[in-house]
């Protein structure tokens, strides 16, 4: 077996980068269960077509702007959920932790109190509080070994109790701080929007070309250059199109600041997961924790860090929710927030079994959840319909994940 191969392998390696063989390899991968982003793309298109056919408002500029605001909170939380799912754990506390964060940010800015902090300071404290909650939960999970399901279920109840306790007497806190209210309500000027799209596209192009050049210099397979450029053009184009649509929205043209915030979170999260040693270790802990431990990775520390990320992103979600309402109420963190955030990650292709998925899945999954919620609101459907559709899509996503896993196991030669 070791004698005949070299020439053949060489030849195979050379045309592996041609468009045709990339398409062929992709098809083989899909059949072996690695469906990638295909279901998400199909889902987004199908949902858009469905609601567009029902109402003209769905595909309007102002509704797009609105959609960004609606999906932002859940998407922010889902970024943290991706990390938790990647190490093969679950965090059920995120919903009410986001509620605690809503209360905290409102409390920190409260005028006339001893802690009348400026908006950005209040936001920073709230994010730290979220991370601290994650640190506490993560430590119990990683150091003592209590299952994350139970720890975070307890965390869910404690957080809900804390919200009731803190808001109990007045029931609602208004937010007057403009910096906090701007988080979900500020729109960038049209010019700033263009600049953001330009920076995003330039960054993507620089990263793509950087990878290409360093691989070429090292004499490694570079992949198809045309395809790499096409990817940059596609996502850059998407960014410019989004800015164009938002800038055409009336009465307040421009990209919502909160859209930029979640984009930043997703890009940062993708970078950490995909290009740093920490991210690599996160994937390894989810793939085979024992192997990670034997390789000298501090598995406990990774777990604790991941729950801190989850706590901080949940807090960011809570800040966005509070900012959107300019207040916080007794219902903060409740409702479908928890399930929406986990669904967003799972629909975005992140495996519940650990070790597989991308941070960008949070954005795409969040978009699907947001579109269903938004479309159903426009059509005046009841919450019943919203729950049933979201539930069906979640079930489909998890089923797909399970089938993919089984097929991958079966095709492993």
């Amino acid at each position: 077996m070791s004698t005949a191969a070299p020439a053949e392998v060489q030849a195979a390696a050379e045309d592996q980068d041609s468009l045709l063989s990339i398409v062929r390899a992709r098809w083989v991968a899909i059949r072996s269960g690695d469906v990638g982003s295909l279901p998400v793309i199909v889902g987004i298109i199908a949902i858009s077509l469905f609601y567009s056919s029902k109402t003209d408002i769905f595909f309007s500029a102002v509704n797009f702007q609105n959609l960004i605001g609606q999906m932002a909170g859940v998407t922010a939380i889902a970024v943290g959920v991706v990390f938790v799912l990647l190490i093969g754990e679950i965090d059920l506390s995120i919903g009410f932790v986001s509620g605690v964060a809503s209360v905290a940010v409102a409390e920190f800015q409260m005028t006339g109190s001893s802690h009348d902090y400026p908006g950005l300071i209040a936001i920073a404290f709230t994010l730290l509080l979220g991370a601290a909650i994650g640190l506490a939960q993560g430590s119990i999970i990683a150091l003592i070994g209590v299952p994350s399901f139970v720890v975070t279920l307890a965390g869910l109840l404690i957080a809900q109790g804390a919200i009731l306790q803190l808001l109990g007497t007045q029931g609602v806190i208004g937010i007057e701080d403009t910096q906090i209210n701007d988080v979900a309500n500020y729109v960038l000027s049209p010019t700033t929007g263009w600049i953001v799209a330009g920076v995003f596209t330039a960054g993507l192009a620089a990263a793509t070309i950087g990878t290409y050049v360093s691989r070429r210099r090292a004499g490694l397979r570079t992949g198809n250059f045309v395809l790499a450029i096409a990817r940059v053009v596609f996502f850059g184009g998407l960014a410019f199109a989004a800015v164009h649509v938002c800038n055409g929205a009336q009465p307040r043209p421009g990209v919502p600041l909160v859209g930029l915030i979640i984009l930043f979170m997703v890009v940062l999260g993708s970078y950490v997961a995909g290009r740093t040693t920490f991210g690599r270790h996160v994937y390894s802990v989810g793939g085979n924790a024992e192997a990670a431990r034997r390789s000298g990775i501090n598995v406990r520390l990774i777990r604790i860090f991941v729950f801190m990320i989850s706590g901080a992103t949940a807090a960011m979600g809570g800040i966005i929710f509070a900012s959107r309402l300019n207040s916080v109420q007794l219902t903060a963190g409740g409702g479908t927030i928890l399930l929406d955030a986990i669904s967003a990650a799972v629909i975005g292709g992140v495996s519940l079994f650990g070790g597989r998925g991308r941070v960008s899945g949070a954005l795409f999954g969040g978009l699907i959840i947001g579109m269903i919620s938004n479309g159903n609101d426009l059509l005046g459907y009841s919450d019943a319909v919203k729950y049933i559709t979201t539930g069906a899509i979640l079930l489909a996503a998890v089923t797909l994940d399970t089938v993919a896993r089984r097929r991958q196991a079966a095709t492993g030669r």
Binding site: A5, G287, A291, S295, G412
Partner: protein, 257 residues
């Protein structure tokens, strides 16, 4: 090359107890550079305990370990790794969801000061290492380990040991779960490791495999070393007897080789 006076790794009078169970009882063991030493014995003979002692997972109670002629203490896996002792465990320590390169460098990734991964040099060195071991059946070093066959996975695990310039490699039942062709693949790999000057210790129940690759054979029985046999001066039957009944009346050739 065959007559190295000082063994790279030597155990003298090593004893390990788990409560009242005497897992290793004054065991002597050695392996030299460029040599394949087989470690055989029935279940419970102490093979795994010996490996784990050297790997730093179960530090020894009594006795001495010499590495390169100098006495050393191995208190943890990191110290074993620092000396250059690598253990390829039976249940492969690979992550299915990661690709070949990612597994080869797991826990020891190359990165810049900002903890950014340096993918290109990692991929280069992976390809070079696999090539130096003539592992040609892996199509792409960027395919997930989940898509590899048992033999290929074992090859990756072994290649990982080579990548880090280890001096002594322990292979715990490397062929136990493999088919005929894949077993051949792994045994060839074991031979190439020793040809590169590494000391290889292979633990196996399969005496056919042992006789194919090993230069010498150490037999353990009930936590004791019952003898070290030169492959060319023994046969399977003698080894089987040593495994089941202990040493025959005449003391076998301990250092005679």
């Amino acid at each position: 090359m065959s007559e190295t006076p000082t063994p790279i790794l030597e155990l003298r009078g090593v004893t390990k107890r788990f409560g009242s169970v005497q897992a290793l009882n004054e065991v002597d063991f050695e392996v030299r550079n460029g040599e394949v030493m087989a470690l055989v014995g029935d279940n419970g003979a102490g093979k795994s305990t010996l490996i784990k002692s050297v790997a730093g997972i179960h530090p020894i109670d009594e006795g001495q370990i010499f590495f390169d002629g100098k006495p050393v203490k191995i208190a943890g896996p990191k110290e074993a790794a620092k000396l250059g002792i690598e253990v390829v465990y039976q249940d492969l320590a690979l992550c299915d969801n990661l690709d070949v390169v990612q597994n080869m460098f797991l826990g020891r990734e190359l990165h810049d000061p900002f903890f950014r991964l340096r993918e290109a040099p990692m991929e280069q060195r992976t390809a070079e290492t696999l090539k130096s071991l003539s592992v040609t059946t892996i199509r792409s070093v960027r395919q997930p380990v989940a898509t590899l066959s048992g033999g290929q996975r074992q090859s990756v695990a072994v290649a990982r040991a080579v990548l880090w310039n280890n001096r002594v490699v322990f292979l715990d039942e490397p062929t136990a779960a493999l088919g005929v062709a894949q077993t051949r693949q792994v045994l060839d790999l074991v031979k190439r490791l020793s040809e590169q000057g590494l000391a290889v210790v292979i633990v196996s129940h399969n005496l056919v495999d042992v006789f194919e690759v090993a230069d010498r054979i150490t037999v353990l029985r009930l936590g004791r070393n019952v003898g070290v046999y030169d492959k060319d001066q023994t046969n399977q039957q003698e080894i089987v007897e040593a495994i089941t009944f202990g040493a025959p009346a005449a003391e076998p050739s301990g250092a005679a080789a």
